[in-house]
Symmetry: C2
Subunit: 313 residues, 2 copies
């Protein structure tokens, strides 16, 4: 796996301008363009070309589909974690609102425990879509965009998002990605992967172990944005995500059909879906270990240090 | 989940003719068309509409993503299993060649054991892409299309295909699907699902637990063919597979980029990929329990019946 880039045929005068046959909209790059329209033997001969040492761009439609590494490769991965409706959009918003740090938890009980040891803490999250008892806010990015969070620690509950971040926590870097911060997160991810010689993986949180088209579409958008910086070897997942993204320029048209959006609409939070579909309106990039921590890691760290950064009780 | 069909807006004079915005090629049906271009609130209001009792069409990109059933639903599922490069294409070919039955095995050793108790048996399968020692044929559908199989039992080894069939063996029906028998398998699946009131699931075998774009594309083609018979509620996976299929009319252009095809090309079996990309050239539908058996089930049955159908030693 991993060597999925078509070499440009030597007689192609415009290697960057060829497009994926049949795809509509979006930027189409040589990196995923098919071979020229010749016989299938010549076409397939391209497929046998090996590329050694090139950066790989993978899209994992679920956290369980993130490979631990390429066979025979020492590269680690820069991971962009996507739970676009709504956890990663909410996390971007929380950082924008100036929270001092975010502790993410997979369930309400561990969130409550973590919150107990912080001053002026804000409890955010959902249980079946709405804020659990005693929580300050639900997982509504529209609501969070008006919340007074400056300088305050936030404990944030997200089942699928936490599982995705946990699955890749050993990666070279873990960045939270959404439509809203797409350009910013891709710039940071590309810079870091080229500096470190790492591969790139966009990791979809999915929905209770099921494929989510909203996450897959966002992953395609991120892959497209990453490829504006250069070329990469694309896995099957990356090619499929790119095609999904390029099939429809209107993110909301895709999101509206997703199980995740339909659930949010049922709760009466229709505006959240449109908010999550907005692209490139934020420059923040929540990063694990910088703005963002898993609660279990924080608890571990606090056992070693009774008063981290002076913000604890 | 499961109620993913847009109702036609009441003022739409051509509900069947609307197309998915931005999609190119292929047949685009009302069942997956988005709502009209009005404000996002009106657009999302469509998403809240519930459909009770409609048939669901799901595409599972891996066997592990097949839901066991809809919550609160008594429907069972008609499953179309896809391992298009190359197992399901080979299975279609083996049935076409007139094999008396096919026993499928997940590994070479259990295939050899099963073969030992049949007269005139043909051993087919692969280990790292080629025929294992003592096997009559590798998993090359082009080669199998010339093989003398009439009236003979075939033991067939496929790791991913067997895992997929095992995962759904309790379904209402399990049919082997490929590009080659697409129209035939969809006709049989639709007829049966409407007669039984069952849901439909296209199940991709994938590749050693990873997403395969060739299987996903074939699944989109099958979903498109199924929707020529009527409408269904589409899951996120079904919508994404349809968009992938409709993004590119040339199956070979997609297949050539897949990890599976690249592996086959490396083995020098380039023609197999083109063979697997041909659509609607076969009328056979291999069905679990009719043409096709899992070896472990056969062994169980043979313990109860020492001479099944007079073909055993």
């Amino acid at each position: 796996m991993g060597d999925r880039r078509w070499p440009h045929p030597p007689d192609d005068p415009h290697p960057r301008r060829r497009r994926v046959p049949g795809s509509a909209g979006g930027r189409c790059r040589g990196a995923v363009a098919g071979p020229p329209a010749v016989g299938h033997s010549a076409r397939l001969a391209y497929a046998a070309v090996q590329r050694i040492g090139a950066m790989r761009l993978h899209v994992a439609f679920l956290p369980s589909l993130v490979p631990t590494g390429r066979p025979g490769s020492e590269r680690s991965q820069i991971c962009l974690v996507v739970d676009v409706i709504r956890a990663s959009s909410s996390l971007v918003t929380i950082v924008e609102r100036g929270a001092s740090r975010i502790l993410i938890a997979g369930d309400v009980e561990s969130a409550r425990q973590a919150a107990a040891s912080w001053d002026d803490v804000v409890l955010v999250g959902e249980e079946e879509g709405l804020a659990p008892a005693g929580f300050d806010y639900g997982n509504s990015p529209v609501e969070l965009a008006r919340a007074p969070l400056r300088g305050r620690p936030v404990v944030f509950v997200t089942t699928n998002g936490t599982a995705a971040i946990r699955a890749v926590k050993g990666a070279g870097a873990v960045l939270v990605a959404a439509m809203r911060n797409g350009a910013a997160v891709c710039r940071e991810a590309w810079r870091e992967s080229t500096a470190r010689g790492d591969d790139l993986a966009v990791v979809c949180a999915g929905r209770e172990g099921a494929f989510s088209i909203d996450d897959a579409y966002c992953a395609g958008y991120l892959a497209d944005a990453l490829l504006t910086y250069g070329s990469a070897d694309l896995t099957d997942g990356a090619i499929a995500a790119l095609r999904l993204y390029r099939s429809e320029p209107d993110a909301l048209a895709i999101f509206s059909q997703s199980a995740a959006a339909r659930n949010v609409v049922r709760l009466g939070l229709t505006n959240d879906v449109a908010y999550c579909a907005q692209r490139n309106v934020s420059e923040v990039v929540p990063r694990l270990g910088r703005e963002l921590y898993l609660v279990e890691e924080t608890v571990k760290a606090r056992r070693l240090d009774a008063s981290p950064r002076g913000t604890a009780k």
